[in-house]
């Protein structure tokens, strides 16, 4: 069924859905986050689940403490180098399909603390991130917005073809190597398989 026809039918209130639609509908409407907070942003994440903002409206209040039952990892806060292996390990423990929201400047890029010797400059060096929310910390509404952005992304995914979601690609890894504690820094400093910065920094 092509998009146009489906749109037409749903406009007439006829509930039609293909298997793909059902699949995406199911996973986008039941995203259970991992109960996992790192720093300041975690408080805003908690605030987003509280009465004022109520993340539960999206069916996402089931914060699971065990990664095995979680779908979404909200990296909320500064990822330090001491913590990074643990974050990767938690991500590895989550079953597919799994999503990552990098919440706040620190999680995206190290943020204000990026000059620190113990701060990882962006969690996407080790695990793939779906949605980034800037802000320090982002408002709870910004997290809700990111959540809806993630839902839209899931909804738009085709289950077949080259652009199918990562968890349906046979050869795509679902676990990523966990960095080691070196004498001066984490080794390796990034996972080159998933993270490639733009060739040149601005103005270099």
């Amino acid at each position: 069924m092509d998009e146009g026809l489906r749109g037409e039918l749903s406009r007439h209130g006829i509930f039609t859905t293909s298997l793909e639609g059902l699949y995406n509908w199911g996973r986008k409407n039941s995203i259970w986050p991992l109960q996992f907070g790192l720093a300041c942003c975690a408080i805003e994440m908690i605030a987003a689940t509280m009465a004022r903002y109520d993340l539960a409206r999206f069916g996402a209040e089931v914060f699971r403490p065990s990664p095995r039952q979680a779908d979404l990892m909200i990296v909320a806060g500064t990822v330090t180098k001491k913590m990074a292996p643990q974050v990767v390990r938690l991500y590895n423990q989550m079953p597919e399909p799994k999503y990552v929201i990098a919440m706040g400047a620190c999680a995206i890029s190290g943020g204000p603390f990026k000059q620190g010797y113990n701060v990882l400059k962006g969690i996407d060096r080790y695990i793939p991130v779906d949605v980034h929310i800037p802000g320090c910390p982002p408002r709870p509404e910004a997290l809700l917005h990111a959540f809806m952005t993630l839902q839209k992304r899931i909804d738009a995914q085709k289950l077949t073809g080259p652009s199918r979601p990562r968890h349906l690609v046979e050869e795509a890894p679902s676990e990523f190597p966990i960095p080691d504690f070196g004498p001066h820094d984490l080794t390796p400093g990034k996972n080159s398989a998933i993270w490639a910065p733009p060739r040149k920094a601005q103005g270099v």
Binding site: R27, D54, R57, E61, P95
Partner: protein
């Protein structure tokens, strides 16, 4: 009473059975009982999860799930689809066979219990002579399943959670069973339908439910408390106490197996509540004679929803007990209280349900409740503390 409306399912089953060849009739009969029970309670499970989330939300000044489907009612469907498509992780080093068997066993054990529960007039899958005993026997198997889950995961939290769960379930099984003894004595049978029958009829305005006697009232609450503990519900949800043990014995479970645990747990809760209804709340009997025309199964489910609501309400209110306090409560309060309650129900038989009976049994139950409550308070606890202020 409108007979056909009350018996519609019974008649329907009979009609369908007539269409089936005789050789297959026993099998068909089983299927016709099991199928609807599973369907109805699976739906109830789905409804309960969303009701619980919305109810808790209302208690907490928020809306709860309301965006998936109309009023968020399709939320459990989405959760179900998600659970099915979720990758099933079996961690390395687990005991694979036990790991897989545990959620199945927990569901089977919970479902087995439903075969003796009368859901309405003439609506019981298996009318056993020792129905109540069967119920408890089936319930006892869940402990094994929980142990298997905890042990096979090879995870400290899971193992600790399982040990807690089993210790708790064994401890509360005793008051659970003892609190029913009064009813069994009064009804003179172990058959669930027999017990419901014994509670039919009305004396004056009030129905002949056991909950409306002093020992029955106490027994009902003892049973509810013990059943809450058996079902690992708040405030007895220590085995999966998030704040201590991550997710308890199902820490390592994901995807559909986890959903099965969830399902099994809720099925256990429904079953325990259904038994409480059967034993104390007159089963499918109407509370007032003039409401007798309402089909019996509706009464049953109305009562069940009421009890589920009660458990959600309690969950929204209380913090969790500590493991040793939980045990203390079981052994120092629940056990003696249920023993006293048996005595009270014995006395009731001799004093009759007149004023004397109320006086004797009531004072016995209330007095022992008060005394045991005092005894339960921690030794060093001061109920009223006074704080100094420096200026």
């Amino acid at each position: 009473m409108i007979e056909w409306a009350d018996q519609i399912f019974v008649l329907l089953k009979r009609e369908i059975l007539l269409l089936v060849p005789v050789a297959l009739q026993p099998l068909a009969s089983i299927l016709l009982s099991v199928g609807p029970i599973m369907g109805v309670f699976a739906t109830l499970f789905a409804a309960t999860t969303v009701l619980e989330r919305k109810g808790l939300g209302r208690i907490q000044n928020r809306l709860g799930p309301n965006r998936v489907g109309p009023f968020g009612l399709l939320q459990p469907l989405a959760d179900g689809i998600k659970a099915i498509i979720k990758e099933d992780v079996v961690p390395y080093r687990t005991d694979r066979v036990l790991h897989t068997l545990a959620p199945i066993l927990i569901m089977v054990a919970a479902l087995l219990a439903y075969s003796v529960l009368p859901l309405g007039r003439n609506m019981v899958a298996l009318d056993l002579d020792a129905g109540v005993l069967f119920f408890f026997a089936a319930g006892a198997t869940t402990e094994l399943a929980i142990f298997m889950a905890g042990w096979s995961s090879r995870n400290k939290y899971a193992l600790l959670g399982a040990m807690r769960a089993i210790a708790q379930m064994i401890s509360y099984e005793i008051p659970l069973i003892l609190s029913t003894v009064g009813v069994l004595m009064a009804a003179g049978t172990l058959s669930t339908t027999g017990i419901v029958e014994a509670q039919s009829g009305y004396s004056g305005l009030f129905p002949n439910w056991y909950v409306l006697t002093p020992w029955g009232f106490a027994g009902f609450f003892l049973f509810l408390i013990a059943a809450t503990a058996e079902a690992n519900r708040s405030p007895f949800d220590l085995p999966e106490g998030e704040s201590e043990l991550v997710a308890g014995y199902f820490t390592e479970y994901s995807g559909f197996k986890f959903a099965m645990f969830f399902f099994g747990e809720y099925l256990g809760l429904f079953a325990a509540n259904a038994l409480a209804i059967t034993l104390f709340l007159g089963g499918w009997n109407a509370p007032l004679q003039i409401l007798d025309w309402v089909p019996s199964y509706l009464w049953f489910f109305a009562k069940l929803l009421f009890l589920i609501g009660l458990s959600i309400w309690v969950r929204g209110t209380t913090p969790r007990l500590r493991a040793d306090q939980l045990m203390n409560f079981a052994w120092k309060f629940m056990l003696p209280m249920s023993l006293v309650n048996i005595l009270a129900s014995g006395l009731w038989r001799f004093t009759g349900d007149g004023v004397l009976g109320w006086l004797v049994c009531g004072s016995l139950v209330a007095g022992s409740y008060y005394a045991l409550g005092l005894n339960l308070a921690p030794k060093n606890a001061v109920t009223k503390r006074i704080y100094r202020f420096a200026t």
